[in-house]
């Protein structure tokens, strides 16, 4: 088992270069851009990739030339790849924890429970048509799994399905392997789709990553399907939208795919500047402390720096609300809800029936 580690570690540089560097975008697609995969997280057995250890412990001396993958089956390879990204996902969580003081899990719970997917009044006699949720930039499944749980378990409504979509197949693979832990009925209600949120007319189902040299960012030229107009009840995007290069285009696409009456909901880091004192402390924290911690903990100052700056660049609550209105949505009240003093915010909009 120990022998497997050097091989794994060698596999990583090629993974990093092929998967994390977007082929046409200048700026990183997401905060994990060049996260270093630490040795520690690889050697720790992850709850989401139980087979990794067995896979890699088979004695074989020719691993070095083949990055250790020559003796495993394709499905095992996939799991191995996924396990690597699981550790990336872990470092996501770490960054989210730092930026949110550990609140992001609570925000996500709140986000999902207030959207209340699958709610159907007991008194309604007509059998409701299935509710379709599209979780954009949903990578690792954090939001989607909560949605399924809320709909199927809390609201006892199995008639709800969720599509997880992401531009990065590697992230989707993490979500896919994590989903193996879910009850079968929930797994059956899940699907994984590769797409750029800015153009949902070009998609394809998640195709497994088979070789390390593969491009993991979705190439629209390889699209095999599309998300039809007026087909989605609930569109969610959590901590994803600030990474998009063309936010208005993504909002227009959200409007296109939603049914009339459908809901757009976005959870994103935001501006805490309503409370000047808190804000200055938070800014100090995020601009100085976080990149430093990133350097010390993960040996990677740059991605943490990117994280902080992408949050700073993202429009303020009012501005983003106006972008949502411009895309054709209607809002209630001011159109957003501040979380934890505005460190994050939830924007909600409804596609009107015209």
């Amino acid at each position: 088992m120990a022998a497997a580690r050097p091989a794994l570690r060698r596999a990583i540089p090629s993974l990093r270069s092929s998967t994390f560097l977007p082929h046409h975008h200048q700026r990183p697609q997401c905060l994990h851009h060049h996260v270093t995969i630490s040795q520690r997280s690889l050697s720790t057995s992850s709850p989401f990739c139980n087979d990794t250890q067995t896979t890699t412990s088979s004695p074989s001396s020719d691993r070095e030339t083949h990055f250790g993958f020559s003796t495993v089956t394709e499905s095992q390879k996939r799991q191995l790849v996924a396990s690597v990204f699981t550790s990336v996902a872990d470092s996501y969580d770490k960054m989210n924890d730092l930026m949110s003081f550990g609140w992001h899990r609570i925000w996500k719970d709140h986000f999902v429970s207030t959207l209340n997917p699958g709610f159907a009044p007991l008194s309604s006699s007509d059998p409701s048509s299935p509710q379709h949720i599209l979780d954009i930039a949903g990578g690792t499944g954090d939001i989607a799994f909560r949605m399924l749980h809320h709909a199927h378990t809390v609201n006892s409504n199995p008639n709800v399905n969720v599509t997880i979509s992401d531009i990065n197949r590697a992230m989707l693979s993490v979500g896919k392997s994590r989903s193996a832990e879910l009850p079968a009925s929930q797994q059956a209600a899940l699907s994984f789709v590769e797409a750029n949120a800015e153009d949902l007319s070009k998609t394809r189902p998640l195709t497994p990553i088979l070789s390390q040299s593969e491009q993991t960012f979705f190439d629209p030229a390889t699209a095999t399907s599309s998300i039809p107009d007026n087909s989605v009840d609930l569109y969610t995007v959590a901590f994803g939208i600030r990474n998009f290069s063309d936010i208005p285009a993504a909002l227009r696409e959200a409007n296109r795919v939603l049914k009339p009456g459908g809901i757009f909901a976005c959870l994103e880091f935001s501006k805490a500047d309503r409370h000047p004192l808190f804000n200055s402390v938070y800014k100090e924290w995020s601009f100085r402390a976080i990149p430093l911690i990133g350097q010390l903990v993960a040996g990677d100052r740059d991605s943490y720096q990117y994280l902080v700056e992408s949050i700073e660049r993202f429009p303020r609550q009012e501005e983003f609300r106006d972008m949502i209105l411009d895309a054709g949505f209607k809002v209630s009240g001011q159109g957003w809800e501040d979380l934890t003093g505005g460190v994050a915010a939830i924007h909600r909009g409804m596609k009107p029936r015209v």
Partner: protein, 295 residues
């Protein structure tokens, strides 16, 4: 008034701005909801005539609240904190489903269905669609009070100011008739910490409105005391009404009269506020207990 974004605003808060000396207007309007900072016109003919101060420099309203025009005095005044997009859902729920299903998500979901929307649609109303519905009830009943005043102008005209206050408060209480079986439930929702500020503010605005409609023009320190007193009495009467089984809620009306008399005879103010807090808190606790919350 017909320019885009111009609204007819008949809320007492707005009129109060018009009444203040110009120097205080600016600071006041900053603390009010953005809607109140827009062109203001009173439209209820029965209102005592008021001098309008020169218009203040207008702030551009938020885009989602623009292009709303209200000309009718019988229509609820501008949605204030409510957008045009959400009022159909809220109104439909209130009138068609709350009397049967209470202030619940079920009512909102049924309203969404009536409007050919989706079961998920009410979730655009924010973190608590149910509280949004309750708030809308508070808001719309308060803002229709001025048109009710117009309807009852004959019976109001001969009355002294305290009698007017009593009648107006009674008119407002009667607006709870259709939903009274569900009002304790609603009070429990209002008692949740995140909802208290809005609920308390609505209560103050109601007292404000009633005093304004009763023609009380005093803008002096005692006004705040009176407003506080009326808020407390109103809330206590409202709670009383939830358990009142008498014909036409006559017991509630008597309760209201007694409390107003006491307040008139002074001392009552602080007491009634304190009692209201006690009342509401215990009602809230009882309802929560009945729902299995262990307090």
């Amino acid at each position: 008034m017909t320019s885009p974004g111009a609204v007819t605003y008949s809320g007492a808060a707005a009129r109060r701005i018009l009444l203040r000396p110009a120097t205080t207007v600016r600071s006041l309007s900053r603390s009010l909801p953005t809607t109140a900072a827009r062109p203001l016109t009173t439209s209820t003919s029965t209102l005592p005539s008021r001098q309008q101060t020169s218009p203040q420099p207008q702030q551009r309203p938020p885009r989602h609240l623009q292009s709303r025009t209200y000309h009718s005095t019988t229509h609820p005044s501008p949605p204030g904190p409510f957008t045009q997009a959400e009022t159909p859902l809220l109104t439909t729920a209130l009138t068609s489903h709350v009397p049967l299903h209470g202030f619940t998500l079920t009512s909102l979901t049924l309203a969404a269905r009536d409007l050919s929307l989706l079961p998920i649609s009410p979730s655009f109303l924010g973190p608590s669609p149910v509280f949004r519905l309750i708030h809308y009830h508070l808001y719309s009943t308060r803002t229709t009070l001025s048109s009710l005043t117009a309807v009852h102008s004959a019976s109001l005209s001969g009355l002294s100011p305290p009698e007017k206050v009593e009648l107006l408060t009674w008119l407002r209480l009667k607006q709870n008739e259709a939903i009274i079986p569900h009002w304790q439930q609603a009070l429990a929702v209002m008692a949740q910490p995140s909802h208290v500020p809005t609920a308390v503010k609505e209560l103050a605005l109601l007292a404000d409105e009633i005093y304004y409609l009763a023609g009380d023009q005093s803008v002096d320190p005692s006004w705040y005391t009176k407003r506080g007193g009326l808020s407390g009495i109103y809330a206590a009467a409202e709670l009383f009404m939830t358990t009142d089984k008498s014909e036409g809620f006559q017991e509630t009306r008597r309760f209201l009269r007694r409390r107003l008399q006491e307040a008139e005879e002074l001392a009552g103010v602080a007491k009634s506020v304190g009692e209201w807090i006690g009342f509401t808190a215990s009602a809230g606790v009882n309802v929560l207990r009945s729902k299995g919350v262990r307090i």
